[in-house]
Amino acid sequence: MMTHLAAYTTSTGEAFQFWVLGTVAVIGALCTVFMKKAVHSALCLAGTMIILAVFYLANGAYFLGIVQIVVYTGAIMMLFLFVVMLVGVTAADSLKETIKGQRWLALLCGAGFGVLLLAGLGNASLKEFDGIGQANANGNVEGLASLLFTKYVFAFEITGALLITAAVGAMVLTHRERTERAKTQRELSEQRVREGTHVPPLPAPGVYARHNAVDIAGLLPDGTPSELTVSKTLRERGQVRDVSAEALNDLHALEQRAEERLERTAIEPATFKRPEEASK
């Protein structure tokens, strides 16, 4: 038995590790919150989690540290990435606040809560640490296992039930039973005719646009881009490139050159800008 000192300290190495990795973890957390794209958030979070795993290990929670890496970083974060991929990128990715005062209130509450929490911790008498050595004497995993299958066996069982329920639940939620036969192409075209919308196939991308990449909207005869020509997913991700202004400028330049060649009055070069550029 150790007689415990008032100030239990860790090794210098651990301290160094804490300050360096802790800083990175906080930065990772902040990036999780403030990164615009969900994918980046997910990656930052994964980084933070790995650091946390290191901290678990440093605290003598070897089993948890490994589990953290395997289950959390490995499985759960991957699940997140899958969903991000499934859902795609939406306008929700914007950091622009839509609810009046929400951001300020949130930051205020967050700051207040954080300060209070830290103050509470500072006030608490947490100076005495027993150290984990004694508990881990017979091996961390064994220690956990003996507790898990004796003292916490009920909770363990119930957690198992919960996991199964969750798995079933996720399946029920995501699985869609097809209740009717899928419509054939004929039926779909007939439906379009009946409704009188888009009887012909959707226009192809890149038409009149000098490019024919899928992310470039086809241009209508007046030079404006048509939304219909690009895939919905690209549209929602905001990954559509608009070249209409370029095309129009090119056209204009061509006309100007023709005028020069024909020695007519020079026409002022008009510059067309993309709508979003113009609005800036």
């Binding site: 609810i99 929400q102 209130l105 509450c109 967050g110 207040g112 209070l116 509470g120 006030n123």
Partner: protein, 648 residues
């Protein structure tokens, strides 16, 4: 015998009930029923009078207890009647003059389709007035007091289709109500002072109470008197009350009801005797009104309004006398009785003139009527002589006594009051002579001109069958109208002498009112002489102004005083500006206040909650994140609270 007292009241009350509830079936005979019941009451009165005369002076008080009216703990009001010499005098005056005027009205109201109702109201008035004078306690008196007010209201507004009549009626009732307030406060004061308000306990213990309370009671009774008897400052209703049919003016607004105030003061003599300050106030009010009424009477061209001013002034004399205490009570009542005769006579005469003149009331459109209506002229003339105090006629005796008594009050007060009374006599002589001259003498100004005065578009229905703009054909009134006038004229000639010679009236009333001989600083004959001089001066001036010169048919502009007097010395204007306008503003602003402030506070509270909840509703915006912020904030607060609790 006592049991007859209730019948005195019951007879006219029955008449009123039958006539008013009976409906049109009684139209043909209604007026005769009313007159008959009035005479029945008079006959009962005479029988009771004879009975009283048969008893010794000390046993002339009869009481009749009918039933307990309002018994609540110490507050015991009974319906009990008391007939003593004072009440008896009034009973005879009321029923006597009342019956004559009923008779007169049969003729006067002949062409009015609502004559039955008129007689019903008249009977109602008689009943209420008799109740007033026969009551044994002040609360019952109050019933009669307001009852006559009601009858007066109904009769002034009898021609309700005329807005002026309706307004006058309302005004009379309202002004009277102010006075009634005084009476009711007086009764409350009596109750707190004596634990009773019956005449017996109050009057016999008046001496035991503190003077302050008695003064308060006296002043409140004075307020009541001012209202009912048209004394300054509550006199303004009387002139307007002339909108009523002339018999009403004669009965209610000359002979009986308006004298109720004098009755009240004389009846409460014991209270006033112990409260000199209140008495002084009474004399002051009397003196002021005496002059006020007389001055107003001088300026009016409307014959009835001139007479109304005169009434006011004469009642001023009575109130003055009543304020003098035991030296004046008897004379106040005596003047009241003689005034009842001659003023009723004068009004009936005026009514007769109007009857013959297509209901013209403007004296400037009369003139020289003595040739056309001799009976009216003679009776009116006798009444005139009586009122100005022509020696030997009734006014001479009664007014002279009052002037004497005023001087007898002694001190500076006595000189002032006596002087005022003398001055009043001179003015009385002036304005009555003026009325007389303008009406019966001089040119016949009514010829060659339409007479329907614009103020009274459809005045008295008696004229309805005549052409709109026909020249009047003055004519004598029918017998049924002239007989009462003759009887009243006889009364005004002989009454004073009959009462005064041998001090008959004094001996009759003394047991009730008490009497003490005043010690006048001037001799009785000096006063008489001075009165005569005043009279001659007054008559002389009037003659110079209206007898020798022709009277212009359109009133000249006149002096400032004349113009003010024509407008009732601006009292109505004052009332209008201060009370009517002020009241209108007050009520209007209160309506506003009630709507915006009182209601507004409540509605505001409601709106406040409404606004608060609609604000709060906005918090429930449906955004999960907003809710999350609240939860998070709540959690922060909880942490804070926990820390705080631990810190404490």
């Amino acid at each position: 015998m006592e049991n007859l007292i209730a019948l005195l009241i019951a007879a006219p009350l029955l008449g009123a009930a039958v006539l008013l509830v009976g409906g049109r079936r009684l139209d043909a005979v209604g007026h005769w029923i009313g007159t008959l019941l009035s005479f029945v009451s008079f006959v009962i009165g005479v029988v009771l009078f004879a009975d009283l005369l048969g008893k010794g002076a000390e046993h002339r008080t009869l009481t009749q207890h009918l039933f307990s009216w309002v018994p609540v703990a110490g507050f015991q009001a009974d319906v009990t009647f008391r007939l003593d010499q004072l009440s008896m005098t009034f009973v005879l005056l009321i029923t006597g003059v009342g019956s004559l005027i009923h008779l007169y009205s049969v003729g006067y109201m002949e062409h009015d389709e609502r004559r039955r109702r008129f007689f019903g109201y008249l009977n109602l008035f008689l009943a209420a007035m008799l109740l007033l004078v026969l009551a044994d306690n002040y609360l019952l008196l109050y019933v009669g007091w307001e009852g006559v007010g009601l009858a007066s209201y109904l009769l002034i507004g009898f021609w309700q289709h005329k807005p002026s009549a309706a307004t006058a009626a309302k005004k009379a009732f309202l002004v009277n109500r102010v006075g009634d307030m005084g009476l009711s406060i007086a009764i409350m004061l009596m109750f707190t002072t004596f634990g009773s308000f019956a005449f017996g306990p109050v009057l016999s213990h008046a001496g035991d109470a503190s003077e302050g309370r008695l003064t308060a009671i006296g002043l409140m009774l004075l307020l009541a008197t001012c209202g009912k008897s048209a004394q300054v400052p509550l006199q303004s209703w009387l002139g307007d009350a002339m909108e009523g049919p002339t018999p009403v003016s004669a009965l209610i607004h000359a002979a009986t009801m308006v004298t109720a105030g004098v009755y009240l003061i004389v009846r409460s003599g014991a209270v006033f005797n112990a409260a000199p300050d209140a008495q002084l106030a009474v004399t002051v009010v009397g003196a002021v009104t005496l002059l006020f009424g007389a001055i107003v009477g001088c300026a009016k061209d409307d014959i009835k309004k001139a007479l109304a001013g005169s009434t006011m002034s004469q009642i001023g004399y009575m109130v003055l006398a009543a304020g003098l205490g035991p030296i004046g009570y008897v004379f106040a009542i005596m003047h009241l009785v003689t005034h009842g005769f001659f003023k009723a006579g004068l009004f009936l005469g005026a009514g007769s003139v109007m009857h013959g003149m297509n209901d013209e009331v403007d004296m400037r459109k009369y003139g020289g009527l003595r040739r056309y209506m001799p009976v009216t002229f003679v009776t009116f003339g006798l009444g005139y002589l009586a009122i100005i105090g022509f020696p030997g006629l009734s006014g001479f005796f009664s007014k002279d006594k009052i002037i004497e008594a005023a001087f007898a009050k002694g001190g500076t007060d006595g000189w002032i009051l006596g002087g005022v009374a003398l001055l009043g006599a001179a003015i009385t002589a002036f304005y009555m002579t003026r009325v007389m001259l303008m009406t019966f003498f001089g040119e016949e100004r009514w010829k060659n001109q339409p007479t329907r005065s614009p103020e009274a578009p459809s005045a008295e229905p008696a004229a309805e069958h005549q052409g709109e703009h026909a020249e009047p054909h003055p004519h004598e009134s029918p017998k049924v109208m002239t007989i009462p006038m003759i009887v009243l004229a006889v009364g005004s000639v002989l009454g004073g002498g009959f009462f005064s010679i041998g001090d008959r009236f004094l001996h009759w009333l003394e047991p009730v009112t008490g009497y003490s001989e005043g010690h006048s600083p001037v001799g009785a004959w000096t006063v008489t002489g001075a009165t005569m001089v005043c009279l001659i001066i007054g008559v002389g001036i009037a003659w110079a102004q209206y007898g020798r010169k022709p009277v212009p048919a359109v009133a000249p502009r006149g002096s400032l005083l004349t113009r003010a007097a024509r407008r009732d010395l601006l009292q109505d204007d004052f009332n209008h500006v201060v009370l009517v306008r002020g009241g209108e503003h007050l009520t209007r602003s209160l309506v506003y206040v009630d709507h915006t402030l009182v209601d507004g506070v409540v509605n505001g509270t409601a709106a406040g909650f409404g606004g608060l909840s609609s604000r709060l509703r906005r918090v429930q915006n449906g955004f999960a994140r907003s809710y999350a912020v609240s939860m998070f904030g709540g959690a922060a607060l909880l942490v804070a609270a926990t820390l705080l609790m631990r810190a404490v």
